[in-house]
Symmetry: C2
Subunit: 331 residues, 2 copies
């Protein structure tokens, strides 16, 4: 059996309360007593039961729940990293789970995390109704949405400047003389997709160019479909001279479609990636600090935990075009 404080107390010949004092580093324990209790703890391999503490203190556990669409995706693992960095010194742990873009699974994960009485929740959401979190929010658990806003729930959110980033990318291509700029994008119902499409349209309209629907290929949710869509674009009677890729998966698909072509179209991709500078040509991207996204989310949670009230906040993280070569070739 696992030793309890009572076991330690008996081994050390003191009362349970004295052991509690030692374990919690409280003042007012004679040095000799302290020593003998510490020895008993060592001897028995005692480890304090956090569940009993949480229960007795009737508080949240020192854990944050982080629900993303896939922990192994570099975007979300960077967020996880940022969250962890930010809460590390506050002795908070992170429980991370993947929804796999399944709203049911997302909900199940979030509910289980609430049963665990997490101190806060950070969600990169998939579902389209988060109203089931309203009671938890009302009870004081801070919840921050990241990458996409909450639906049917008034909660904090950290978003990228999707419109601005996409607009900058397309303007960058236009500035290099392109007039036929294609967009390869993810599922149109996804928040970030529709925002980036808006940015794309905004840039074209500001330049007095029409939005040619033949050059807009949405619904590419994986590398393969992005590759196929790009091949289709390139075999049009009037192919685009430049491509804007809506996210990193799509950029990889576009790159596969362009591989080996003598004179590939210009390319700017949303999302940076480590090897972008090593490709030929090096890939121009819309970059941002994904780790910072996680840090900001965690910071917001911590502020709320520290008592900050007030209406939901929305923080928009800026993006930046990083020219590397692929986006600076002419038509």
């Amino acid at each position: 059996m696992r030793p309890t404080m009572m076991d330690v107390a008996q081994a050390a010949g003191v009362s349970l309360k004295t052991v509690s004092r030692v374990v919690n580093r409280e003042q007012g324990v004679r040095t000799t007593t302290l020593r003998s209790v510490q020895e008993a703890i060592q001897e028995l391999g005692y480890s304090r039961n956090e569940h009993a503490r949480v229960l007795r203190q009737n508080r949240a556990s020192r854990m944050l729940g982080l629900v993303t669409r896939d922990v192994s995706n570099p975007f979300y693992s960077a967020i996880a990293r940022g969250v962890e960095e930010e809460v590390r010194d506050r002795a908070l742990l992170v429980i991370a789970g993947s929804s796999d873009e399944d709203a049911e699974r997302e909900r199940a994960l979030l509910e289980v995390l609430c049963e665990r009485r997490v101190g806060g929740l950070i969600v990169a959401p998939t579902g389209s109704d988060h109203s089931f979190l309203a009671p938890e929010l009302a009870l004081g658990t801070p919840i921050t949405f990241i990458d996409r806003p909450p639906w049917r729930l008034a909660a904090d959110s950290i978003l990228l400047d999707n419109v601005g980033g996409a607009r900058d990318a397309v303007e960058h291509l236009l500035a290099h003389g392109h007039r036929r700029v294609a967009l390869v994008g993810d599922l149109p119902e996804v928040f970030t997709t529709s925002e980036r499409v808006r940015g794309y349209q905004t840039a074209l309209r500001a330049a007095g160019l029409p939005v040619d629907e033949a050059l807009v290929r949405l619904g590419c949710h994986d590398t393969r479909s992005a590759e196929a869509a790009t091949r289709e674009l390139l075999s049009l009677p009037e192919p685009p001279t430049a491509v804007f890729a809506g996210n990193n998966r799509i950029t990889f698909g576009v790159l596969r479609a362009l591989a080996g072509r003598a004179r590939p179209p210009a390319l700017v991709g949303f999302d940076d990636f480590e090897l972008a500078p090593l490709l030929s040509p090096p890939v121009t991207v819309v970059a941002y600090d994904a780790v910072e996204l996680g840090r900001q989310a965690a910071r917001l949670i911590c502020e709320r935990l520290a008592g900050a009230s007030g209406p939901p906040r929305q923080i928009v993280v800026s993006t930046e075009v990083v020219p590397r070569g692929s986006g600076e070739v002419g038509p």
Copy 2:
């Protein structure tokens, strides 16, 4: 205040025990009673307190602790993914933390996880003494080490075939006619480094070639130092005609050093990466299934939780050379 079972009971006009039955889906509750309790639960936004359950049932919490060196590193996030996939159906959650290669931090994380009464621990270790985990192990908490073996502790481990993978890589280069094969490696005190060095030496010796220390550059813990080491190798009076890179960070550094060179040496890197096929030339690597590594670790934990006893097990995951171009050029 957060509602308890007692609050629900009062709202529904039943006893606490009846609410417990409903919450736990026990048989023997009249349909009308069931309904009214469910309504009260909905009304109050009740959520069961998992800490109270764990305490009362005197069991481990349904959580696994996962301590890696950096959650945002693709290798470890793939492991996290594998662990999660494997335990998902068993309703286990994963608490993930990064040690940042700091043994003290690793120890602190592991101890906090034990206080949380995790059902099992998976560790990609940094420290060189894990004997402090002995009491926890003795109390029945399964612990699996991954990527590197435990030190001063008899516990399960999941390792890569580091020697075999490195040997295969070098043999692959030798088979293409190389006689001067360099090794760029991580810190020599790291387990995987020394194993891979052994594999490198084994391959050379088996081919009757000397191990030329001038061609062995260890201590490269980041991309930058690997790049510098590679530049040094290339400016030797007798430069290598092929390079074996000891891990993915090093491969990236080597690639940076080779970028733009008219006739780069052959290259095989340990660790696969998504963009390897898209580089020019595409990069030949020693590949393995990192997600499977995590799955195996979780499987081992689950078997132990299900009662499997016996001496520590060691599982070695095989590797495979994936030829893509960079490793198939002659000297």
